[in-house]
């Protein structure tokens, strides 16, 4: 199973691993040891019961070849959007490609590669890197941490306002076929700052099978406002298992939007911990699957403190013989009184062969709270279909319109207009237009 990976890990332990500050080596070592001990999750593991990770666990994955050889800015055009003045950090097969990236200098904001930050600026990283996403959380996180080397680092200083979003763009090329990449991102938004960050996983080799294993840690300081968008458009033969862990502090606002449409198997875990009072968290998600794709979203919100509000809506549109998994955990600690948490998962089946496993999981230990959840799996509404047709819209167009409407309802929640428009465009393109 994970033998080749363990061998590679051992080889790394023998030689000096990638450069980095002194404190990092024990972090990597602990992660190495952790993964060597646990290996991949077994199908009996409740957390992974519905996620068919067999092809990952049984595969032989080599490290992706470094470098952006031959990749041009033109090839990236389909994945870029918004305005020219947006900062875009491009990573090819997991490695930062400076020549393809564009960084605008903004006061109080630093955006660059983790590899560079490890060389230059360990002090910023030390309090955060691997402090938010524990290696015990999942073998995949341990593995990512063991191989930790490159990814995006964004630091938005206290009170700074990011006027344009920062886009972290992870591209795989044909050379990544059969390889694994472990992007590691760190987003630190300081006190009272305001930022929008986009994380994209795309490919220049849509027919290739590879594996992306990213981890993103996010720290949202008191009073900060963050919009975090994640766009996953991997090859439909690829594997993607990602974790986003967010720590929020007093009076902060964090909103995430996750679009998942690629991957043979794509799983994303979004964990948000509310460490203080008066925090607001919005989690929106949209997954579109077809063929034999499997899309798996696991979210967990930890209401550790009182007077916080979390609002979650994940929607899925499934076609072919595809499958989706949704698991939404809401933990409310005894002291987290006046928690207001709402979770919704809605699924639209476009075919008879598609299947959804949806599971809300609420563990509430406070008594003065408002926590609701709901899950639906259904078809297009016949009455709405008739209404559209009675206005002259032919049945196939009515179906596309209503399917798009189902998605648009959640896309509309994205705050930044250019991001919203791009998500809209991607979904329309996938659905075959209106």
């Amino acid at each position: 199973m994970s033998d080749t990976l363990v061998q590679e890990l051992e080889a790394r332990a023998g030689t000096a691993t990638a450069e980095g500050p002194e404190w990092l080596e024990p972090v990597r070592r602990a992660a190495r040891e952790r993964f060597a001990r646990t290996g991949f999750p077994s199908p009996r593991d409740e957390e992974w019961r519905f996620t068919p990770i067999g092809p990952i666990a049984q595969g032989t994955w080599r490290s992706a070849p470094a470098g952006a050889r031959g990749v041009t800015r033109e090839q990236l055009a389909p994945f870029l959007f918004g305005r020219d003045d947006w900062s875009t950090l491009v990573f090819v097969n997991g490695v930062y490609a400076e020549g393809l990236s564009r960084t605008a200098l903004l006061p109080g904001v630093r955006a660059g590669s983790l590899a560079e930050a490890l060389r230059a600026d360990g002090a910023l990283l030390e309090p955060h890197l691997s402090r938010h996403a524990p290696i015990e959380g999942s073998p995949f996180t341990a593995l990512n941490t063991a191989f930790l080397g490159d990814g995006g680092v964004v630091h938005v200083g206290a009170g700074a306002e990011l006027t344009a979003p920062i886009h972290l763009l992870f591209v795989t090329t044909a050379e990544a076929g059969g390889a694994v990449v472990h992007p590691r991102n760190l987003l630190v938004i300081e006190r009272g700052a305001r930022a929008a960050i986009i994380e994209s996983y795309v490919t220049l080799a849509p027919g290739q099978s590879y594996w992306t294993n990213p981890v993103t840690e996010v720290s949202v300081a008191p009073g900060a406002w963050v919009e975090h968008t994640r766009i996953q458009r991997e090859s439909e033969r690829a594997y993607h298992v990602g974790l986003t862990h967010v720590d929020q502090y007093r009076d902060s606002h964090y909103r995430s939007f996750t679009l998942a449409m690629g991957g043979a198997l794509a799983r994303h875990n979004l964990h948000v911990r509310l460490n203080d009072e008066n925090i607001e968290t919005l989690m929106y998600g949209l997954y579109l699957t077809r063929g034999e794709q499997v899309a798996d979203n696991h979210t967990a919100i930890y209401h550790d403190q009182p007077n916080c509000r979390s609002w979650e809506v994940y929607k899925g549109i499934l076609d072919g013989r595809s499958r989706a998994v949704f698991n939404g955990k809401v933990f409310v600690k005894p002291e987290a009184q006046k928690t207001d948490a709402k979770q919704t998962n809605r699924n639209l089946l476009l075919s008879d062969g598609a299947k959804v496993d949806t599971k809300p999981q609420l563990e509430i230990f406070a008594d003065d709270v408002k926590c609701t959840h709901g899950a639906t799996v259904g078809r297009l509404d016949e009455l709405a279909r008739f209404y559209a047709r009675s206005r002259g819209i032919p049945a196939p167009a009515a179906d596309r319109l209503l399917t798009y409407a189902f998605a648009a309802e959640v896309i509309d929640e994205v705050a930044l207009a250019p991001v919203r428009e791009e998500l809209d465009r991607l979904v329309l393109e996938r659905l075959g237009g209106l």
Binding site: A395, A397, A405
Partner: protein, 252 residues
Amino acid sequence: MLEIRDLRATAGDKEILRGIDLTVNPGEVHAVMGPNGSGKSTLAQVLAGHPAYKVTGGSIRYRGEDLLELEPEARAQAGLFLAFQYPVEIPGVSNAYFLRAAYNEIRKANGLEEVDSMDFLDLLEEKLKLVEWEPEIMSRAVNSGFSGGEKKRNEILQMAVLEPTLAILDETDSGLDIDALRIVAAGVNKLRRPDNATIVVTHYQRLLNYIVPDFVHVLSGGRIVKSGGKELALELEARGYEWLEDAVGAAS
């Protein structure tokens, strides 16, 4: 324009329309009245092609064509419009987008060029005045979160934009306060032309004070039991439906 002969229709196992005969000519306004459960809304929905009803007998000819052969969208493209009793909410699609899509589909089907969103906005501006509405309503999702009155007004706006040859208003007055009723009725009246026709389905006579019919038909038990001029509506208002039902019961 419309010739209904011995129309029979069922919902599930239940026969709801049991032999309807009705002829509507261009320029006419017909009111179809009747107590709850008489089949008047079913008649409206069968005309529009609602999939929940099955036509088991009779015929409908519309502008020389067999209406029952046409899909709902083809009926709309041929100029038939049903203002729904319960307009459907479509979150996620703006009112403007939906209406322009419908407008263009109907134009396309009639061999006309589609209009772009700018030209459509000009057209819309003029039609909005007809229902005394501000353009803001167009950026809201279709009927989503609309009040009962707003939904009905939206139906009339759609009707104004799509300019049907035959409009069927299904209980358009239900749930409207007097001001909304006046606006909706005024909209309908302004859309009347010698070459189009309207069927007003209603339980109460109230709407007919504003939209004055040429003919009034009373439906009971899935049949038209009495037809007359506009004075019949007043008689129904004064006497209720029982006397007609009793009369029919006695006759059969």
